[in-house]
Amino acid sequence: MNNDYKNPACAQSQSENKNKIVKFLLDNWFFFLLGIVLTLYTFTMLFIFAYGAMNSFKSSLEYGWNKSAFPTEGWHFENYVTALSSIYVKVRAGGGFEYQGVIRMYINTILYAVGCAFFSTLVPCITAYLTGRFKYKFSGIIVGIVIITMSLPIVGSTPSSLQLARMLGLYDSIWGLWIMSAHFQMGIHYLVFHDAFSGFPAAYKEAAEIDGANNLQIMIRIMIPLVKNIFATVFLLRLIGYWNEYQTPLLYMPNSPTIAYGLYYFTFVNTDNKTFSVPMQLTGAFIVSIPIFIVFCIFQNRIMTNLSIGGVKG
């Protein structure tokens, strides 16, 4: 064995291997570093999820003395039933008040999130198509508006926006928020569609024109289907965003609460002794997350598609 070690051919081969390893490490140190950071990030994420899930099955009493170990007094699955019946929001109705529960809040959420996601995807898509296809000066102005509104730091216009929403009768209505969310300005998604439409050759449109298609037919039958994958991705991203958002419903439609707003109310406002505890708050959090997490699992490949905003310079 020792003789082998002293063999010049073997020593040379070992030295080559060593050099290869050193070269590999030198070439990839940046990736190792990033890999370590990403592993740590993943660990913290999974740690928080695991502890959140575990503690959601503890009784409030047990959580008082056992916050970091497995439940010792049994798994309290009934926490989920209690939380389901305890997530509610007190709203104004008629001349008085009423309590809206989970089912009503899920209906509000579906109407709010699907509607806002659809219109806030459709409007930038059509605007991007128009500005990309028709090279009028006005199209250039629209692109300029998008760039400027994205980078113009306007602070504190919410009171004015609320005042206007009240004046136009859009306040406290789901359809009012559909209208308010359906815009092209301040939108990175406009740039995504703009980039996509700019990449299509004019021959598509010209061929359709020769076949006698009018503008609407070209847009609906030729151009929009070409971006249907991007449309679906942007729609799903928006859907998730609107589903999870609670601040806009809190300000603009306090009497049609969404499930995310319900969780806010459950966590910070509703101080009922039966549910005002960390395990119950965690349980409420999981109840709210499950539907959108299922949507993510089903459409994961579609949502995680690469998007591009190249081509538009600010």
């Binding site: 940046f30 409007v123 980078s151 004015s160 359906a182």
Partner: protein
């Protein structure tokens, strides 16, 4: 009387223009009302005050008061520690989040783009904060930072306070959380950008002996720089609206010492007092006057110092 011209007799250019005007009408009207009018009204509101009226509900409304609200800002800056602290905190949050987010996001995207170890899994993990509601993330994070970690580490003899309540750790912990829970869509956008880079350019760099970092610095970064600078400028635009996730972590009960201006403004708007609107608009207007030149300067700087694609 001249007969009305039927649609069929319009020539191609006229039809194009008609189609363009009809479809562009809604986005333009929406923009005029919900951007131009809202912001213009916000400026007007800053010069008004709400009067509850002396003869009942009908006489209540907004009245012109000149610069009264602006004078009130200076009084409040002296009297209200939450407001003065919030401006300083916003600047700190901005500097830390912009630098860390901008660099980490593009580095992570590069790692995923190069398809390194477990990159698909990391991509999903990085996207999770976008899928899970910020409130849900905050509830889970709070329980760990406040209860689980102090107990776990306490068992091994390392005593730490509840991280989100302790005076010395709450700001840093909230800042860490706001960065930790902010990855997601921007990584997809960078990956889209990187995927469109000509593979021959990357191959040439590898043949020339460039390691991973050099490949990133000299090939990838210059090519994704337009996206990078867009995000960088957009971050600045949020300098005084960034809430540092305080509302999701504390509701309306965040300590005045750790509040950001975005949080301070949101909480006061959410309280829904009509009398407050003019004062809040005046504060917003003032912060806009600070943020606009800063944004324009950074935008100009980003263009100047940007790496060359050549």
């Amino acid at each position: 009387m001249e007969k009305q011209k039927p649609l069929r007799s319009l020539n191609r250019k006229q039809k194009d223009l008609l189609f363009y005007v009809l479809l562009m009408a809604y986005p333009v009207i929406q923009f005029c009302i919900f951007y131009v009018v809202v912001n213009f009204n916000s400026i007007l509101l800053a010069f008004k005050d709400y009067n509850y009226g002396t003869t009942g509900f009908e006489s209540a409304g907004y009245q012109w008061v000149g610069f009264k609200q602006f004078a009130k800002i200076f009084t409040e800056l002296k009297a209200n520690p939450a407001l003065s602290a919030s401006i300083g905190n916003s600047l700190i949050v901005y500097a830390v989040t912009t630098i860390s987010m901008s660099t980490l996001t593009v580095w992570f995207a590069f790692y995923i783009f190069k398809n390194k170890f477990a990159s698909k899994f990391f991509r999903i993990i990085l996207f999770l904060p976008q899928v899970i509601s910020p409130l849900v993330m905050a509830v889970m994070f709070t329980s760990v930072a406040e209860n689980v970690l102090p107990e776990l580490l306490g068992k091994s003899g390392w005593k730490i306070p509840p991280l989100l309540s302790d005076v010395n750790t709450r700001f840093g912990t909230a800042l860490f959380y706001s960065i930790w829970a902010s990855f997601g869509t921007s990584i997809l956008l960078y990956n889209g950008n990187m995927a469109s880079i000509d593979p021959e350019v990357i191959e040439a760099a590898t043949i020339d002996g460039a390691d991973g970092f050099k490949e990133f610095l000299y090939i990838i970064f210059p090519l994704v720089y337009p996206t990078f600078s867009t995000f960088f400028v957009v971050h600045i635009a949020g300098i005084f609206t960034n809430q540092m996730s305080l509302h999701t972590l504390y509701g309306e009960m965040a300590s005045p010492k750790i509040q950001t201006f975005g949080y301070y403004l949101f909480v006061r708007v959410a309280q829904g007092n009509l009398k407050e609107y003019p004062f809040l608009s005046a504060m917003g207007l003032m912060m806009t006057f600070i943020a606009v030149p800063l944004t324009l300067f950074v935008r100009w700087g980003m263009k100047k110092i940007g790496p060359s694609v050549d």
